[in-house]
């Protein structure tokens, strides 16, 4: 299951529809402070089922919806779609026959959420289970956010065990 592409609309600073294609090997993301690089990381975590707004630097989940700028109005909804290449057939049984697997997530200002696997509506639980099944799940050590390296060092030993538990 390797990453194929990511599509964001109205997610944090990505007000306009943005599509990124990932290569095999190494994809680099660069740019000045505050331009949106870490927001891409947040989008990937969010569409894979992140349930805590704090892990996305917000206080409410609505904080991920583009909230306006000097020149743009706030959006009413945030959408992210993440497409995986499944040619290695690693996806769990229900999905093993697909060449591609796309997970999608939408959040409306009203607080209403929608979830999709291959454009079919599903529950958040289905997305989380899909990833658990592939071993891809948002393991803390496979998405190393900005500042996480520091917190491994300053962590209390009892909190540090969490990283190992995720691999167990």
């Amino acid at each position: 299951m390797r990453l194929k592409s990511l599509e964001l609309i109205g997610f944090k600073s990505f007000v306009d529809r943005t599509v990124i294609h990932f290569e095999e090997g190494v994809t680099g993301i660069v740019g000045p402070n505050g331009c949106g690089k870490s927001n891409v990381v947040d989008a990937i975590r969010w569409v894979m089922g992140e349930m805590s707004a704090k892990h996305l630097r917000g206080s409410d989940m609505q904080d991920v919806i583009f909230n306006g700028s000097e020149t743009r109005q706030a959006m009413g909804m945030s959408q992210v779609y993440l497409t995986f290449d499944n040619s290695d057939g690693r996806a769990p049984a229900d999905f093993s026959k697909y060449n591609e697997i796309q997970v999608g997530r939408r959040l409306y200002r009203s607080g209403e959420s929608e979830y999709f696997i291959n454009k079919t509506p599903c529950r958040l639980k289905d997305i989380i289970d899909l990833f658990l099944g592939t071993g891809v799940g948002t393991k803390a050590y496979s998405v190393v956010e900005q500042g996480m390296i520091g917190s491994i060092i300053t962590a209390k030993p009892e909190d540090r065990r969490f990283f190992l538990e995720e691999a167990a």
Partner: protein, 165 residues
């Protein structure tokens, strides 16, 4: 379960003892359980000494040494239980050039296992990338993403940035 944690801990510890001297070009490190009797609640301590230095608490290490130690641990866990992809957001920030090179060498050695996505301000780390995306905000508050070549990306973080700012 206790057994699974113990197995994982031992495997990661063994990998960490091997990886740390690779990243530091010497020295040694290991993980230690704070409470061997209580595997469900025990903490995990890190003991480390860079090459030529004496073993002491990691709190005394420098900012860059702490970062490289944490990177060694993250990669050790990753090698024991690889994910199909690994997303690293500016983990090279506290590293000097020599350590950035060592970090990059290690990434290269792991590319066979997994797909890497690296967010970086570092020109050398950019050289690892097979494809580079530049994120910009020409319109305040609105992000755009474009495919860029290596020299464009390096300019983005280099001298020309003051002209743009």
């Amino acid at each position: 379960s206790r057994k699974r944690f113990r197995e994982t801990f031992d495997a990661v510890n063994s990998q960490f003892q091997e990886l740390f001297p690779k990243l530091f070009r010497g020295g040694r490190a290991k993980l230690v359980l704070t409470d061997e009797e209580n595997l469900l609640e025990t903490g995990v301590e890190i003991i480390a000494s860079p090459p030529g230095k004496k073993l002491q608490s990691i709190t005394l290490l420098s900012g860059g040494e702490k970062a490289l130690t944490a990177i060694a641990l993250i990669f050790s866990i990753f090698l024991i239980k690889p994910s199909p992809f690994c997303l690293l957001d500016e983990v090279d920030a506290p590293l000097d050039d020599a350590n950035v090179d060592r970090f990059n060498d290690m990434i290269r050695s792991m590319i066979g296992h997994s797909q890497f996505i690296l967010i970086t301000h570092n020109k050398r780390t950019m050289e690892l990338a097979d494809v580079l995306y530049g994120v910009t905000m020409e319109e305040a508050g609105a992000s755009k993403m474009v495919s860029v070549r290596l020299n464009q990306a390096q300019e983005m973080v280099g001298e020309t940035q003051t002209a743009v700012a």
